[in-house]
């Protein structure tokens, strides 16, 4: 009797680990065998079966272009982020799937002098793909790659506070900042700040694609296809299970979905919200979402009338029916924004008690408009699909909902080309999106700080800027939380950004792919690290 039961149990467990049986079905079958109390444990045991080595992981992703280069400072979009940050190279620090900061190529670090001086201990015994050992020289040159006058790195702004980077022995690096920043190790998780081998003359070799990552470059045709193979000496334990990873640039979403359905891909990013439900119904395909900080924003320039008046800005925040936007723009794949850029993947996000959700309220909008001295207001909303997908439709909806408040919104369709140079930060009211940042300080420092290069509203609030500098050097979590909640309240009430929505990234995989229960929310496809974190059943 016992052996028959054991046999049946083994069979069910195999089915679960292969993914061909759901949790519910397993639990009911096991309970029927009289093992109800043990069932959940048995399920976990089989579902969490140790990852297996092997296979070629084929992913179809977006955001690649023929002009892509292997320079980490020039990563612009998902494709190169996936290849460089997710496969070829490592950072000094990493954001774990749980959202915590964990060591990567830096073994440990320590801030001193009011978080102005940072000492990093470089991990020993790590080899680049070409066999060269990782030393402090590689780290110093890799950081300096983003600094200096001649650098065109996109991380130049992030590292703006860095005054010097010096080696301290073979495995020590000292970074000096012009102002204290308790979050500096978090900044180093940025996907641009990857460690490349030094050329020995102060520059780094980024051209070859050599790194310390889980996969080394085999073939790379920019904007088309990249093939990498497993790095046999990868230093991370319990990571990198695939033998090979093939990354394909597929711009057309129907083409990506077809390729996944016909078995030519194992995973794809960027599922169009309008077809996600159809894709879900396909047998053998799993559709899932990443709840990140990606956000739709409508920046209003505070250096021009009428948006220099906070009552006008507040009125604008009341004329949007956010529920409608969530259904139309995001097809339900997202959550309501509250004119506050701190999102679901952040630690110190204000609760709804601390910051009540703002809704559609034309009466309040009218009230604020009156207070600002206007009976009615004409506003032009400059939008293009580049700003955020669906922004033109969203603008039309806003025009409808704004009318009862006496605000006439005219939607101006702008060309996609040159949108970021000619419209964003130039026109008084435009469409924009942000990927969000893993920490409150990074988000606020990048876009909302009065001194930030990307302060896309030119908004300046002395109290806010003061709190920002305080928060950077504060190490006590309770006090930090208090500071960041207060900053969120200031942005919500006085800020110049209407933030109606947080968007979820939808991805799809076939039923052969396995991933850990908790996946990263910082970027699409498990923080863009699917290649080293996932495996085949």
């Amino acid at each position: 009797m016992y052996s028959r039961q054991q046999k049946e149990l083994n069979r069910l467990q195999t089915k679960v680990s292969k993914g061909s049986m759901s949790r519910r079905e397993f639990l009911s079958r096991v309970s029927a065998m009289g093992l109800g109390a043990m069932a959940p444990g048995l399920y976990m045991q089989s579902a969490m079966a140790a990852p297996k080595q092997g296979g070629r992981f084929r992913q179809g992703v977006t955001g690649g272009a023929t002009s892509d280069v292997l320079d980490p400072g020039q990563i612009l979009d998902h494709y190169m982020l996936n290849v460089q940050f997710g496969q070829l190279r490592n950072n000094l620090t990493e954001v774990a799937p749980s959202g915590e900061l964990v060591p990567e190529l830096a073994e440990s670090w320590e801030g001193s002098n009011g978080a102005k001086t940072w000492n990093f201990k470089v991990r020993q015994g790590v080899e680049f793909h070409n066999g060269k050992s990782l030393t402090s020289e590689d780290v110093v040159d890799s950081l300096n790659h983003h600094l200096g006058e001649d650098s065109k790195s996109a991380a130049k702004g992030q590292l703006g506070a860095v005054t010097s980077v010096k080696a301290d022995g073979k495995y020590g690096v000292v970074v000096e900042l012009s102002g204290g920043d308790a979050d500096f190790p978090f900044i180093l998780t940025d996907y641009h700040i990857l460690i490349c081998p030094s050329n020995g003359d102060g520059t780094v070799d980024w051209q070859s694609g050599t790194g310390t990552g889980g996969f080394s470059l085999v073939e790379h045709e920019p904007g088309v296809r990249t093939l990498t193979k497993a790095n046999p000496n990868y230093w991370k334990p319990n990571r990198r299970f695939f033998d090979e990873v093939e990354t394909l640039q597929i711009a057309d979403s129907s083409a990506r979905e077809n390729a996944l359905r016909t078995g030519e891909l194992d995973a794809m990013n960027n599922v169009a919200p309008k077809t996600a439900d159809l894709l879900k119904r396909q047998p053998g395909i799993v559709v899932d979402v990443t709840k990140g900080n990606k956000q739709v924003t409508l920046p209003m320039l505070t250096n021009v009338a009428p948006f220099d008046n906070n009552d006008v800005r507040t009125a604008m925040k009341y004329i949007i029916d956010r529920e409608q936007w969530l259904q139309v723009v995001a097809r339900g794949y997202g959550e309501l924004g509250n004119d506050n850029p701190i999102g679901p993947a952040n630690v110190y996000r204000a609760t709804t008690d601390e910051l009540p959700q703002r809704g559609y309220d034309p009466d309040k909008a009218k009230y604020h408009l009156k207070k600002a001295g206007f009976d009615s207001l004409n506003v032009k909303f400059h939008a293009a699909e580049t700003g955020f997908g669906g922004s033109i439709d969203a603008g039309q909806m806003m025009a409808e909902t704004a009318r009862p408040a006496g605000i006439n919104v005219e939607v101006v369709r702008e060309p996609d080309d040159g949108y970021w140079s000619n419209v964003w930060m130039k026109k008084p009211f435009s469409a924009c999106y942000w990927s969000g940042r893993p920490t409150e300080n990074m988000m606020f420092s990048t876009v909302y700080w009065g001194e930030a290069a990307w302060n896309d509203t030119y908004w300046k609030n002395a109290q806010f800027d003061d709190l920002l500098l305080k928060g950077r050097v504060e190490t006590d979590p309770t006090k930090r939380r208090a500071i960041y909640v207060e900053m969120q309240q200031i942005v919500h009430n006085d800020g110049a950004t209407v933030l109606p929505l947080f968007l979820q990234d939808i991805f799809a995989i076939n039923d052969k792919v396995r991933h850990p229960d908790v996946i990263g929310g910082n970027w699409e496809l498990d923080g863009c690290k699917a290649a080293e974190r996932w495996w085949f059943a």
Partner: protein, 318 residues
Amino acid sequence: MSSLARIILQRLGLGLLTLFAVSLIIAFVVELLPGDITQAMLGQSATPETVAAFRKEIGLDRPAHIRYFEWLGGIFTGDLGQSLASKRDISEFVGTRLSNTLFLGGLAAAFAVPLALLLGLLAALYRNSIFDRIVNLTTLTSISFPEFFVAYILILFLSVKAGIFPGISNVSTNLAFGDQLFRTILPALTLTLVVLAHMLRMTRAAIINLLSSPYIEMAHLKGTRAFRVIVYHALPNAWGPIVNVIALNLAYLVVGVVVVEVVFVYPGLGQLLVDSVAKRDLPVVQACAIIFAAVYILLNLLADIVSIVSNPRLLHPR
């Protein structure tokens, strides 16, 4: 034949002049587009400092006409230059893309041209019959749908439902010829359906046009079979217009397939051109435009030569 050689040389000379004009227009138009490569590459992260550093690095701080003449000088020494964005030699990566495009275009032409000629001949032979009408109706239907729709329909039936062909054309350089052929069949079929009607109807019309001529009547009267009349008597005189339409469609197969490339994720020249225009990568845009223009010029030249050779009146002008 010396007059033919003279015509060819003359046309080649004019072709070079056309290429020069094309390159000048492209340079001017790309200069007119809003933004430049630095802004396009850096996107949202284009701050004045990074843009300035980037412009200096790729020499974009110099005036446009100087850059153009430098590029032109390079062309005469056989150097297509480097991509501004990736610093790679253009000849190196345009070569692979071009061979992919030519492979796809060639395969589509291998399906489409014989099929169009055969169906056109048969349609002329059995004109106004049920067969003629069905052929016309189906090919006109397929040409009337947008390319991406034809492509999706083929994917739906031949790939998703039947599972015969792959849904995307994942080709790479080190693929065996058979594999490459197999993975290119669906886009080639799509293109075949798109260009078939044009060539078929021209073949049919050109032949029917001749069938009322006295010498065809003579052939009928002496008892020649209808098919033989069409192939041996009508077709030789119809080659001129037919070949011109074929040349036009072949050129289209090379330069006009961006949509099909996108749907099938086929790494051809069209996608490269679109990417490069979006990024304002002028040298790459120029290289692609020159190749496309050269294809048009050469195919048209070829069509003219064939019509001259097939027509004694043109071959020996008085």
